[in-house]
Subunit: 336 residues, 4 copies
């Protein structure tokens, strides 16, 4: 393919910047439009990474200058922008979640299923090469049958209080990544149990949300998945997965930036805390996520998660929320 | 104290042997009676470790030759032997569980509470010096406030099919140790959720039991405890604890018998699988458990868990069983 | 500084390519000339990274289009190209070694010392951020006074037999990097002892060279440095440093590309072998090496090693060779 | 064998106590005589571990009540006590070194070679099960041909100044253990190079000794062995071996008493410093050393090192001293 894919970007916040940077490193694509209702943001991004600017998505779709779009705007805009992409027959990579309301997602579901263009969801962890290696080795039978999966995910620090009300709650905002990771290994989850707690954050408590959660999922072959979340972590971003199988165990450890270890009179073998946050830990994964989407755009086989994956993660997050509130395990049918 | 404590032992199975051996290494005690309805077993143990033999507990209590007893006989005999110890005013160390029926335990509860003699429960993990170190350092504030506790406990292989019907099920037989460990850190557990699964063992399924379980407990300050259990583990006995707090994390890793690591063309840094099973992993803990009981016998301050700890673990195990069967989180009140 | 530094590159072999790639990622520089007597190589490099081509260094120096040059051509050309750079008053970054003959290096020494332009030597390990962190922490007193330094350096596989005669021998070709690393920590080395062996390679033996060596250096404060070298390593590129001091120890471990570890029935905790070779292990260091040289070109403070460092490493390599051949420890005076 | 081996012990200092304790745990032996010119010491040891006391070795040999003797008295007495054992036809286990003077050792050599009874030398490291495992796996070909061996040995703290003059110097006192370990893997050492330094201890310098040393040995197949020694170590007893071979690497790591690791805001993955000193680190090895000697006494195959091993270690230590003083590599012929 000699022609570059022309990409339009919606949203120029933190994650929009990340995608713009990824595009800049990918030879097969070029950023042609940058769209944000906050036009100054669009201008700054375009100045650095190229493209024309707009505060109106319709202008972008109508320009005839985009072969694909990336949606990194606020969650509330996702459904509409996906729908416009489908209508314009333009492939779209949309940040998670599809929406905070499953009803709005379901309203789009049939149309998304019938769409002729790729609809990819931005679950970046699926593109981390360590998790990919883990998935590949589990699939290759290195630990026999997968029986238990333990996903630990703790953010360095809680989000700003102002963000909490629009976050959709910890399950839809943070756990949703781990729920999708669970489905990366075990797509057919049939049951969700969850417990939430308030152990450290007054602002999270006031927002009616949990700061710490434990989720237990059941796969269709009775596998058990445990997701351990906390909104803070004193020692840095804690991102681990342990896959326990009938013949062994595979783990992805935390990533340490430093190879230096220290031996002293009071402690030995210690090293530096983990990389600060997801932009550093998953920098390469974000790039691969966009690259994989571009493969789909070009009609090549692609392992990008799609609309149904986005919906499934939200269904699981909703079930987790319901379980945490009621104390009851919730049966789910993702294929329904 | 110049006089040795004269100890009577009930039960000469695997764990009875362990206690006899511990007594042999402890200068402050001597084994004076060995009692087992299977008299040959009693004779063999007495031949190796000393003591007179009997197949009748009444004979032991009436002998006037025991200052303390250790109960390592089948679970069904525990309640009665504890009661006889109380009646005889003789300190008793009883293996877990007190009984498989909470009603029988509760029937003894008031008497146990009013007893003038120490009643110690055999939760060996409380005496493992690594878990003790972990507990001490958590208590010393090294990780701030304890927020999450993750206990991983996987046995090397499933128990014999014949044992399963009398085991009381995985929660009362295996998880009960971890439920007690949870209470070692957070005595006041207020809620139990559990999920059970059948992923590998046909015989366990046929016995109506689970081979894999995940339990989530809630402490009275909203701490979340997760217990991960499996009845088998290809790489050896898997015994880990992770304590997550507001300012850090402490872990107890698996114990490796070998200091040798290998680097080759296909794998590097690998070492040998973990010690085979609890008799090896907890050898020292079993000895300290008896030593600590002997301190109580001598009227010294002792940190042996007591009757209420034994009852609490069973209450939690029952709640876990009920939760796993119904899907509902179960509120518990251990002080009731 | 708004103007880009125009760089001329001599040599388009493996390491020349690396430098061209580094320049491409550094905004402050642009590749303007690519020079190689093998003109096809120069053309290929220029096609990818830009610049005009030549097979004659004089043309490059005379062009008026280079503010700095990078010398990545064969060792035999280094002295002459450095001299021409000095004469042209153009800063130069030259790959190690300056030359295989100390006499030729010494002949240039006074001129280099008097030169008005920066002369940087390509000791890439000095720019590895883990070694830099180690050096910084040793310097900050984290291990008290440095007493012992152990540098392990084992290449994945031996060089082609055809390369051996021109290599200058293992001390001048391979150990020289570690000799410079020793001086990164202890610039004033006063004594060199070395033992060489032939344990695995027939072709190296036939070339009259060693395949395995151990070098012991003495610093001016009686510190002992040990360098362990092998021309092969079954488990990948082995690059470690251990700094032992009066109050502790600091280590740089090998770099592992994968965060995945495996637990099985025969081995546990194993991970994948180390990155294949220096281009991968030191990719970032090579880029920083050029960046640091560009700082010197711009007149900024720079920590690039210079001509005297290049000479010192060769003096030490010569002494190691002599010691290995004679069995005698060799006193050296690097300041002489 | 129903009869116990009756053992006489010479010397009741620290190491004599260790051997007495080992004998107490070994069913096949009983301590019958305890001999020390300081009779109070003998009495204290006999009170704890049994046996008659004497301050005269002749009395012990003449008693007819010893089937074997253990020599743990000062070095200066070793040669004479070994000789008396041979004359009395009584097996002897003698602490290292045989003597500080090779002439005195050589004077006994022919007689020792002709002796009908086992003469075992107390090189405890040969009985550490991790080093034994390493040796076994190297021998089994797990790393192909052994090419390099690196032995790190650093004591927690320097010996008392008063001990230094009688120590024989670091090579004969401390390095000698590592020289024997080298021979455990490569019995036929042909060359010794050594460098010594004074980096931290004024009292060691005043005694004319080194506080830090590096020794390089050459095996008969050109293998290179490096021994790294320091008389102090801030982080505890540092005892490591790395065996590098044609197809891989095997390491024995330091032994850590604690399984607990800590993650905090400034350091992660740290654990506690290493066990304090050789009595703890090699407790089990000392016991196995005596057990293995008892096998020899009973005429069973035994892997106890013998007189020639003791002599060889001293020859290497002497050569190391000479090399460190002269700067020359010293050829040795251990079979001469």
């Amino acid at each position: 393919m000699t022609q570059q894919i022309r990409v339009g970007l919606f949203g120029t916040g933190r994650i929009g910047q990340v995608h713009a940077m990824s595009l800049a490193t990918l030879e097969e694509a070029t950023l042609t439009w940058v769209c944000d209702p906050y036009l100054e943001g669009a201008k700054r991004t375009a100045a650095e990474f190229g493209g024309r600017v707009s505060d109106d998505p319709a202008e972008v779709f109508a320009s005839g200058e985009v072969d694909a779009v990336i949606v990194a705007s606020p969650t509330a805009t996702h459904v509409e922008l996906i729908e416009q992409s489908i209508d314009a027959n333009i492939p779209v990579l949309c940040e998670k979640p599809v929406d905070l309301e499953i009803a709005r997602v379901d309203a789009l579901r049939a149309k998304a299923a019938a769409a002729d263009v790729p609809i990819a969801l931005g679950f970046n962890k699926r593109f981390d090469r360590h998790f990919v290696e883990l998935r590949r080795r589990v699939g290759a039978g290195e630990i026999g049958a997968l029986e238990q999966l333990i996903i630990t995910s703790r953010d360095p620090g809680e989000p700003p209080a102002a963000y909490l009300p629009q976050s959709g709650g910890i399950f839809r905002d943070m756990t949703i990544h781990d729920l999708d990771m669970a489905r990366y290994f075990l797509p057919d989850i049939v049951e969700v149990s969850a417990r939430g707690a308030n152990v450290f954050s007054e602002s999270i408590r006031e927002a009616g949300d949990f700061d710490s959660t434990v989720v237990t999922l059941r796969g269709s072959n009775d596998e058990l998945v445990t997701i351990l979340n906390s909104r803070h972590s004193a020692y840095g971003y804690d991102q681990r997965i342990e896959a326990f199988g009938s013949t062994g165990l595979l783990q992805v450890a935390n990533k340490n930036d430093s190879l230096v270890r220290h031996w002293g009179t009071r402690s030995v073998e210690g090293t530096s805390p983990y990389q600060n946050f997801f932009l550093e830990r998953y920098a390469e994964a974000y790039r691969l996520e966009v690259a994989e989407f571009l493969r789909a755009v070009r009609g090549l086989p692609s392992r990008s998660p799609g609309f149904e994956d986005g919906r499934a993660a939200l269904v699981l997050a909703d079930a987790a929320e319901k379980s945490a509130r009621t104390g009851a395990a919730i049966a789910v049918d993702l294929s329904a």
